[in-house]
Amino acid sequence: MNNRRKILDMLADNKITTEEAERLLSLLGDEKEETETKDTKSVNPLKNLKYLRVVVKTIPNPEYQPANGNLFSNDDDDDDNVNIRVPMSLIRAGMKLTSIIPPAAYNQMDSSLKEKGIDFDLRNIKPENVEELISALGDLEVNVESKNKRKNTTVRVYAE
């Protein structure tokens, strides 16, 4: 028995009011819409993505309790808000640009990276890997607590 039928039966048995039934049915409708949207996105999640957004926001920490009771201070030097919108085409074009680096330069870069302890070959990165990386980023959110604990910085990376 589906959920819609269950709600209608409950209404018929006077277990719920008409308003409650209406609300439940509308919630079911929203749920259905959400599922349909997810299905559409899963067919080709990257097709409609045009930009990669990086948003850095600083907000006051609501849990912070200052020792002297003074919430305001003059040393607010870490509350810049940053909003960057990078076209996906720029990332792709940048990746293509790396493919023309001569082998000699690649070897030099690899050895320099290995010296720093990074075992990473740039030649292994293909444009499709970048697509995967972007889709994996999805909706990444990193919360950074500032040293004085009065503010929280949120770094959000997402594709739109």
Binding site: Y51, I84, R85, K96, L97, I100, P102
Partner: protein
Amino acid sequence: MSIPPLLMKLKLVDPKNRINLWIPLFLVWLIAGLLALALSPLILLLVLLLWPTGWGKFLWLFGPRLYAVLCALRHLEVDVQGKGKEQVLLYFR
């Protein structure tokens, strides 16, 4: 056909000043294009000379790839807002 951004918006705001500039990038591309055209014989010669080392291919493909990157700059937006009313906005159009 895609074209590089024609204008760059630069907005600088602080409590005392407010600068809003539209920089005509198309003039830059025009000059760069003419310069590339003038230097093309030299570039071709360098491509031929450096081909065995691998750098020739790099030189040959660098122009078109760079052009693709420049075209992709369109709609790039960087917006930094300070604690007061300071703001730096960069937008390619």
